[in-house]
Assembly symmetry: C2
Homo-oligomer: 405 residues x 2
């Protein structure tokens, strides 16, 4: 047997998930550089030869323990073609390649990864989970000790953080490690130049940030000067005896959608013109260059980036400057509009957890002479949140067949 003539192995090994056979291939047709399959619900899926070869799950092509690919598609012959094709009793597609290699694909896996228009739009639809909100929002709240002890409450909390973007934990002990304990239920935290944990107390001589004054802070995202703004922000109140200091929130995605509806040109300007954010501090000089409204590769809202006091002087062609300020003022006005505003004075024993790249947060001024105020906070990236949700869903919420997304 030559190097390429692997035995057809039994175990599907290219993923840690499993894929149920919801549909079977009824017929297939060999085209010039691809295979066209017709499923039992009449869906037609085309599979390019190189795509199929690239995804061969045999133990020569995929490391059986790490389940990571060993084969490189560059090593496929230029004129690769499928020569012997069959379907087995279980509906598996079996392919003998022109270079002697053999591959087999489970029907459930093929269906889940098909790239015909219907399959692609099903998957895109499954990724849409944002629930925009305005002032009517009832903030999703979860009991701290249940989040710590129950994986299903944990999952509910994380789905709310992902989809609503603003959540509260209640019954949080007034202990320094509460942020870390809650965060560790998800993953590790993201360190910044303020440390792994930042403490919000009024610092009389601060040069670090307006956040450490007692001033009102308008709606903003944190760390807008970083290439990647942190995804989640945790903010735990240990003491709040000072008058004032209410937390304020608006859904930046709801505001962006309203802007798009009211003034598409202003929306376009804020999507297409990257601006600069600079922190201004003696010991650091962070700078980012990105638009205020960020769209992802799919054209969906991906993030808001806006901290008024960290904007650098706008650096756009003269002909765009008027349009930029018009759009910027329009967006800023919406962040003050009461139809979007949710406000709550965080009390000792409560913790915010919100999507820092979507939910703009602010604070009313407080009177530092009227009492103590002590918050502890930290960050985590969206990657950790989403990975944790997927792993929890693998083991806990498997009522529907798993599909690639």
């Amino acid at each position: 047997m030559s190097e390429n003539q692997n035995p057809v192995i039994e175990t599907f090994a290219a993923d840690w998930r499993t894929f149920e056979t919801t549909h079977r291939i009824r017929t297939y047709k060999v085209l010039s550089d691809s295979l066209e399959t017709t499923w039992d619900d009449e869906r037609i899926s085309n599979y390019h030869f190189l795509w199929l070869r690239d995804n061969c799950p045999c133990s020569q092509c995929v490391h059986p323990r790490t389940r990571e690919q060993l084969f490189e598609v560059l090593d496929a012959p230029a004129n690769l073609s499928a020569q012997r094709i069959s379907l087995d009793k279980e509906g598996k597609l079996i392919v003998g390649w022109s270079d002697g290699h053999n591959s087999q694909y489970e029907a459930g896996w093929l269906r889940s990864h098909a790239y015909d228009p219907a399959s692609r739009s099903e998957r895109a639809e499954r990724l849409r989970s944002v629930e925009p909100w305005g002032s009517e929002l009832v903030i999703p709240s979860f009991d701290y000790s249940e989040v710590v002890s129950s994986d299903s409450v944990l999952l509910d909390w994380l789905l709310a953080a992902r989809d609503v973007g603003l959540t509260m934990l209640t019954g949080v002990p007034s202990a320094n490690e509460a942020v870390e304990t809650a965060a560790k239920r998800i993953s590790f935290m993201r360190e910044t130049n303020f440390g792994s944990i930042f403490e919000v107390k009024t610092k009389a001589e601060t040069t670090d940030s307006n956040a450490y004054t007692s001033l009102e802070l308008p709606a903003h995202t944190d760390m807008s000067t970083r290439e990647l703004q942190p995804g989640l922000q945790f903010l735990h109140c240990l003491i709040n005896d000072a008058a004032g200091g209410e937390s304020t929130f608006v859904d930046g995605f709801a505001i962006a959608a309203a802007l798009q509806a009211e003034a598409p040109e202003d929306f376009r300007v804020l999507c297409e013109h990257p601006i600069d954010f600079w922190n201004k501090a003696p010991q650091s000089d962070y700078r980012s260059h990105a638009p205020i409204i960020g769209l992802d590769a799919r054209g969906e809202l991906s993030e808001i980036r806006l901290t008024n006091w960290l904007r650098a002087p706008i650096n756009l062609p003269s002909s765009e400057m008027g349009a930029f300020y018009r759009a910027y003022q329009h967006f800023s006005a919406l962040t003050r509009d009461s139809r979007f505003l949710v406000s709550h004075r965080l009390e000792a024993g409560q913790m915010w957890c919100f999507d820092n790249r979507r939910i703009m947060h602010g604070r009313k001024a407080f009177d530092p002479t009227s009492g103590q105020r002590f918050l502890r906070g930290g960050y985590m990236d969206r990657d950790e949140l989403l990975s944790r949700i997927r792993v929890l869903e693998r083991s806990h919420v498997r009522s529907t067949p798993m599909a690639a997304s």
Copy 2:
């Protein structure tokens, strides 16, 4: 004096940098919504009224300690205009606004932040620092103890990491904390699901990653499954007594440029078609969606994202699949091309530090039965590197006037 009628204050407070007066404004002209200045070298710069008002550095508009803005440009009157304009003896521009507010701007600051075409292109040029390389590269090397003790050697090392992208430290003690000590000269490190520090030893039963086997690893970037791939990778060799295991490097930006020259259509495909990367592990499920060749908002090469064994099945319309595989195979072939390849067997006492988003690294297979092999590694984001360079340049390399960039 009304709320808006601030005294004209002396101290320029909106930045921690200073701006020398290299040019003076000779004349100015008031237009309908902007001021047009002519500098003593005939450069003409236009300053929109809202832009000027937005950048007022007085102590009402900018917090004098944090140097962060307090004023919000949304609060400027819609019909704001400059009414009283003058230049003082030092060349400062003094503006009295229609609402009674007064602002003054240093000539050096105005010139540094001007947004006429010449000023914009000067600044864009100053940001271009990438030095592409091929197999002829002499790897920039720095002595570990000098990096630890001297800020100017530190700066040289960091500029090489930024511009060349691949550097080596020599004379590194075989102590566990050497990576952390070197990294702390820059900033904090970036934690991942592999911890703050990862150890590369052969693990017989690994399910985590092909990196923990003794297999050859083709050229790749690390953490391609994350929304933001780590910018810098540190890799310290404490023991290398095993046969084989040479480190290999190619400059992904040089390869992307070669691809663009040889086959613009392949380059376009890899820039414009985001693909998916999934890690495959029992305890995590990270997924990213991004193109293999990433361009920044300026259209400049920003990153390469490619780990062959972490690519998810390609999810593109059928009509694009052939073009994608053609481009992918072309790019992959260039990563194996000897004209780009630099190879070096890392010995005990040496440490790599390279730009993980530009330099693709690999490893030859090694024989785990022939001797021990022990590397410690970690990551840091580009933000921390660039911030540290800027702060060092503020205090150490001030031979030329500081300009905004």
